[in-house]
Amino acid sequence: MTALVIKGGHLVDPAAGVDALKDILLQNGRVAEIAAPGKLKTANGAEVLNATGLTVAPGLIDMHVHLREPGQAWKETIATGTAAAAAGGFTAVAAMPNTRPVNDSPETTRWMLAPERGAAVRVFPIAAATRGSKGEAINDYAALKAAGAIAVSDDGLPILKDSVMREVLVAAARVGLTVIQHAEDTRLTQGASMNLGPVSFRLGLRGMSAESESSIVERDIRLVTELRDTRAHLHVAHTSTAAAVAAVRQARRSGLRVTCEVAPHHFLLTDEHVGLYNTHAKMCPPLRSAADRDAMIEAILDGVVDAIATDHAPHAVHEKEVEFENAPNGITGLETALGLSLRWLHKEWKLPLGRVLSLLSAQPAALLGMKGRGTLAVGSFADVLVFDPKAEWTYTAAQGKSRSRNTPFDGWTMQGKVHWTISEGRIAYAAPPA
């Protein structure tokens, strides 16, 4: 494999404590050398990327995406989804198992990882926690892990039975896998298509209460407390309510291994953004109240939130052009996460650049136990993001790499322009020449 030198850039690697001008040599898919500008020892014959004036950071990691393969290639494929990831600065994505068939077997996990899928960046399958994600029979986690699964989850189909959830936490802890729970008491959300509140009443739509999320988070934390000795790790997916974040904060104070992620739409938008039945503002968990949204921002700023994850959920145009109640849940997110995080968390709400990058890389890598990612320390995987953190641009969904365009952020101003995304030493995305 050819070598690559990134020259003259400003390296920001929060996990390694680096924030300085550096030249970087990537070789054989790894970071081979880091040196002061012009001081690399072994750069002979390497291709050079001129990063003068740009920032160089560990490639971003999205721990919550839906790549739709196998089974729903009209929405997205592993190839198009990872191309979107690369365009958004991501070098690793963790793919949820709600595919067709559900990824509950080593065979499906291996199929997703096969080179024929044409992935542009690393895919880490998250395997189903239970057979068919039906919340009853537990899968063989050792076999799934051996096949390449990075965590287990029945995302979208939360595990409601206490006994099953307890068993899942114990079995996953035994093999060192994180359990990711989509916290929603689906017994309370039948027929609901948005957040329960004044807006849902006004629009005549059935609503999902904040309790339908927080009650499951609280139940799961109770189980983790009972299982304290097993070192079970519970990760709460796409946290959206103040009550759920408060429960996570409390659990952390008690020293439990409970982590959580927040999606950009939940720290930016509220149920008012549903407007007059905009199906691009329909997802699950739904856009919440302004108080909940503000609580997401506060929780990110004060460090309770461990990761920003997009819940990238592509759907075809025709699937969203229907009555609000009948539209599928979800929006795309891979190509807007960095731009929105820098525009709002960093520029507007003054979260330091290093912390934003950490939430999008080092922290998700750590909580999923990804070795050699989320940092550019020598010896790590050569997963690199080279970007201009100050550049503003306008996002146009129709020009995106994803097969789908279901986003509420079309036409929004983004900050932070990706110049190159490098996956294990290979250029996975290069910005078109200006």
Binding site: F201, L203, A243, E298, V322, E325
Partner: protein
């Protein structure tokens, strides 16, 4: 753990603004009562009266041979018939497409049905649909004038207009244009299944704009506390008789069995607390106007004696439906871009 245990917000945050609504796309559309300025509202009320008095043959020239489609995904007697009579009285050709005798049964989407009707020459579509928001979807896809004849649990704007016309006839006879204080001092109580009622939503959004106070009355299952936050001038009074004593207008609603979604309701208890019967009406609101959007279920939300009694204006409402819908259909096809909405 309650939401209150989150730490207090440390700072006032600037957050992304909610974009302005692009609706209605077509100036002839009537999707929500909120689309109407008071001027537009006055115009509809005045035109309703003028058109009602018009010579029938002269009236048929106003929209002679224009094409209007009625697209009905739910059954309807009053709304469908009155829209159809209204359009025909203006000379328009109408066609009815209902979900049970069309390609909708074969899985055609609302978008495709709307585009098909437009391609067939429909110049406006009158839509009744079981999903909230369906009229907005149809308008954005076809850009035709769309008249919302009831969308799910959301709105039924022409019903609120005909209710208003009925109230004005009783409380403000002979009035011309309406303005912000026309109904000052009037309390309208809406009783029953507020949660599932598009009639309630349209009325509670419209009447306070004319100065009326809206009281909502019903059990918690059918009237959540947050209903009071739907807009200004709306309050909840769970004691039916206390509400009646304050009211000049009482609007009774049907319990919408088709939308209860598994909710269990004790009907005997409901009747004890909320049924409008002769004794209650005589004791608490002996001069109030009694309204009901229909269909009425005699013996449940109101007794036969009240429905047929002297305070009932239920059939006047039905009658006003034709006049209001005639004015709304005329507006749909004659509204000019940039002109009065």
């Amino acid at each position: 753990m309650s939401p209150n245990s989150a730490p207090p917000a440390r700072r006032q945050l600037h957050t992304p603004a909610v974009p302005p609504s692009p609706f209605p796309y077509n100036p002839g559309s009537l999707l929500s009562v909120q689309d109407l300025t008071l001027d537009a509202l006055s115009h509809i009320l005045i035109r309703a009266t003028e058109l009602e008095a018009e010579d029938p043959l002269t009236r048929t020239r106003i929209l002679a041979k224009r094409r209007i489609a009625l697209l009905f995904y739910e059954s309807s007697t009053r709304t469908r018939t009155s829209f159809e009579l209204a359009a025909k009285s203006l000379g328009a050709d109408t066609t009815l497409v209902s979900s049970l005798s069309s390609s909708i049964e074969k899985g055609e989407t609302l978008k495709d049905t709307g585009l098909t009707l437009r391609a067939l020459g429909a110049e406006a579509i009158i839509l009744r649909h079981n999903s909230s928001g369906a009229a907005w979807l149809l308008e954005s896809e076809t850009r035709l004038p769309v008249l919302n004849a009831g969308d799910g649990m959301h709105e039924h704007p022409t019903q609120a207009l005909l209710d208003l016309r009925t109230m004005l006839a009783h409380l403000r006879p002979g009035i011309g244009p309406v303005e912000g204080q026309t109904l000052a001092g009037v309390t309208v109580t809406i009783v029953g299944d507020i949660l599932h009622s598009r009639v309630a939503r349209s009325n509670m959004l419209l009447l306070p704009r004319l100065g009326a106070k809206v009281l909502l009355c019903g059990p918690r299952e059918l009237l959540p506390d947050l209903a009071a936050s739907a807009g200004p001038g709306i309050a909840i009074e769970r004691d039916f008789e206390a509400a009646l004593r304050q009211s000049q207008v009482v609007m009774m609603l049907r319990i919408q069995a088709e939308r209860l979604a598994g909710m269990q309701l004790d009907l005997d208890q409901y009747k004890t607390a909320y049924q409008l019967n002769e004794q209650r009406l005589a004791a608490c609101a002996p001069t109030a106007v009694v309204l009901h959007p229909g269909p009425i279920i005699r013996g449940l939300e109101l007794t036969a004696a009240v429905a047929d009694g002297p305070q009932s204006a239920i059939l006047q409402q039905v009658h006003n439906g034709v006049a209001i819908r005639t004015a709304v259909v005329e507006r749909a096809l004659l509204a000019q871009k940039g002109g009065r909405a």
